[in-house]
Each structure stands twice: as structure tokens, then as C-alpha cells.
Amino acid sequence: MTEALKLVNVSKHYKDFSLKQVNLSLPAGCIMGFIGENGAGKTTTIKLILDLIKRDEGRIFVLGKDNQKDLKSVKENIGVVMEDCFFPENHTASSVNKILRGIYGTWDVNRFNSYLRQFSIPADKQIKDYSKGMKMKLSIAAALSHDSKLLILDEATNGLDPVIRDEILDVFLEFIQDESHSIFISSHIISDLEKVCDYITFIHKGSIVFSESKDELLNLYGILKCSEKDFSRINPEAVIGYRKSQFGVEALVKKKLVRGNFVIDRTSIEEIMLFYTNRSKEKQLEVRH
């Protein structure tokens, strides 16, 4: 199995929103960041991957198996962390341990306990008394305490302070030391993803804008700053999006398509996402006028 996750032409139609022809592929042993603004379709995509909702078109393969045929056995090897903690509030870490032991065939009680120690989670405190960070850490401990080969995280780090996010990032990096382990993480806090992701997939209004290796993206794009006059001379094909101020223009460009002696700075994934998003907003405005 070379791909931990593969979506082929996946579509899902709702009344006000559609996911259109989503294609993405996560090679085993890598981390893919799934970015997009709120409402872009990230959670819908993840729900489709887990077969929580039914797709209208396309095929989905999780750890090499078709997600509508073999999913129950594959789920033994998937660890899922979602934004809300789904354990009933009156449970404790120890009761969670007992319950999950009765659900997962590969549940490792000792591993779970050592994560609890590492995260300083008391065994007998009720979940309703946990802080948000603690709930998240409990979910992560649970996701890692059975034979997980693919971790799927949906906005799992929202609302957590940078210290905890950093702690969790370390745990993920440790997880990925094993080449057969992969991570699929959706977030709109891009700074977390930017450092360690191998691939970035950007979804906007239900369609995939790009799905590339992060290094490629950062090599391909750059931020160009110049006067409005100079900007009008630039090949429009090179420009992804731009921002005009009173003192000049700032644009995201494809470095190779820009001719001439311009200063192009390194960009970030967040900027790429912003400029792409703005560009579609401008197109909407153009259409209206």
C-alpha cells in the first residue's frame, strides 16, 4: 500500500453547497495539511472519508481499501480526532480506557496510561471538568493507543494555546517516525501545518484549488511588490492575486512566469491561501459589475 488516503473524483451535493470532483492522494509516511476557510468543505470531506455521510460520486480508498466495502476492519488502524470531544461528559479517563478496550482489538492499555501521564491527565476526573486542551489531549491519546496507521484530525487544534499546540505537534512528529504512519490534518491555523507538512491541499468552495508538496509550493510562488505602473506590465498569467494600497501593489506570483528585474520575496502557505481566496472574491465582484 503506497497511499494512505486516496480520493478520486468525489462529489457530494447539498442544497446550498456542493463538494465537486475532489481528488487527493496522501502517500504513506507523510503528513498532509488540508486547508481552507470555514465552510470550504473540509469537514464534509472528512465525513465522506469516514463514511459518516454518503458520497454522490467518486471513490475513496483508506489505507488501500475501498471505504464503502471494508471500512470496519480498516478502522482498527485509523485514529480520529475531531474538534469536539465525543466522550460522554460524565466519563473519566479510566472509564474511557475500559470502554475502548472493549471496542478496539489492538487497544494498548499501557500505552494509553503512559500518554495520560505524559499529558498530565488525571485518571478519575470527569471529562466535563476538563479544560479544552485536556479534552483534546485525551482524544489524541485515544487515537494513538491502538494500532493506528492513519491519523485523521479535523480542526483538532482550534482554541488551544500555542504551548499545547506545540506539545501536540511533537507527539505527531513522533508518530510519523514510523514510515507506515501517515497524518491527514485539516485546520485553518496554518502556522502549525506550515512547518511540518509534506503536502498541502487547499480546498475552496467545495473544489480543490491545489494539492502539492509544500516545498514545491514555496518554490513556485513568491510575493512581488512594486508600483501600480510596473504591475500593469506584468504578465497576468503570473499573477494569482493582488492587493492594491495607496503606495503600491502586493501580488502573489508564479516566480517563473515573471520577467524582468523584480524583487520577489518568499511567501508562506497562509499568504498563498489568502491571495487565492481574495482572487475568487474579486472575480465575484467583477461578475456583478
Binding site: 509516511g29 507523510c30 503528513i31 505537534l169 512528529l173 513522533e174 510519523i176 517516525q177 514510515e179 512547518k195 511540518v196 507538512c197 509534506d198 508538496s213 509544500k214 516545498d215 518554490n219 518568499r266
Partner: protein, 124 residues
């Protein structure tokens, strides 16, 4: 072994890593047969993508500085004296290019430049 990378330097990160490891090998700090950290471990410790470290190692292997054995890892290759010399010559050329550019920019003649060079060389 220390690897320090900078996000603000214009040089791509994989190149920075490759260059630093090369220098460690040339200077002798890394000896023939020494094991390099695994690509994944390096990525984790530096907090960068595994693809970046992989690319750095691939370049090092391509240029003959290291050899990778699947399942075992990457090791410093036998010191290829010619290779190293070539590498050092290339670096000297780079420096020379810069010196010439600056000299021309501030109006230094070739003879004046050679004089300065003699001073430095003979001084060593």
C-alpha cells in the same frame, strides 16, 4: 552534529542542509562510515518536512558524499579527494566572481586587485 537552518536566507532549506553536511564531511568532522541521522529523525528535530530532508540526502548522494542503504540508513562515503577539491575550487570561483564584481563597481583595476591578492597570499 549541528545543523542550523534559516528561514529568512534566500537559500532553499534542503540546500542549506546539504551544504552544512558537505562542510562537515570536508572538514573531517564527519568521517567515512559515520552514520547520518535518519531523514525522518532529522525532519522531526528540525521541524521540517521529511520531503525536504529526503531531497537534501538525495543531493548528497548524487554528489557522492554519502551512500544510502535501504533499511540501514545513510553513511558518509569514502572521502573522494578529487570531489572535495572540485567542491572547494567551485567555492573559490564563487568568491572570486563576487570580488571581481565589487572591484569593478568601485573602480579597482586588475593590477590593483592582484597586488591586494599578493599581500594576502604572502601574508599567510
Amino acid at each position: 552534529m549541528d545543523i542550523i537552518i534559516s528561514n529568512s536566507s534566500g537559500q532553499p532549506i534542503y540546500e542549506q542542509i546539504a551544504t552544512q553536511i558537505k562542510n562537515l564531511i570536508i572538514s573531517g568532522e564527519l568521517k567515512e562510515g559515520d552514520a547520518l541521522p535518519s531523514m525522518r529523525l532529522l525532519a522531526k528535530e528540525l521541524r521540517i518536512s521529511v520531503i525536504t530532508t529526503k531531497r537534501a540526502y538525495e543531493e548528497l548522494e548524487r554528489e557522492g558524499f554519502i551512500t544510502s542503504v535501504t533499511g540501514k540508513g545513510s553513511f558518509v562515503a569514502a572521502k573522494n579527494v578529487d570531489l572535495i577539491r572540485e567542491h572547494q575550487l567551485r567555492e573559490i570561483e564563487e568568491h572570486m566572481k563576487k570580488i571581481v564584481e565589487k572591484s569593478i563597481a568601485c573602480g579597482l583595476t586588475l593590477d590593483e586587485l592582484i597586488e591586494m591578492l599578493k599581500l594576502f597570499y604572502e601574508g599567510e
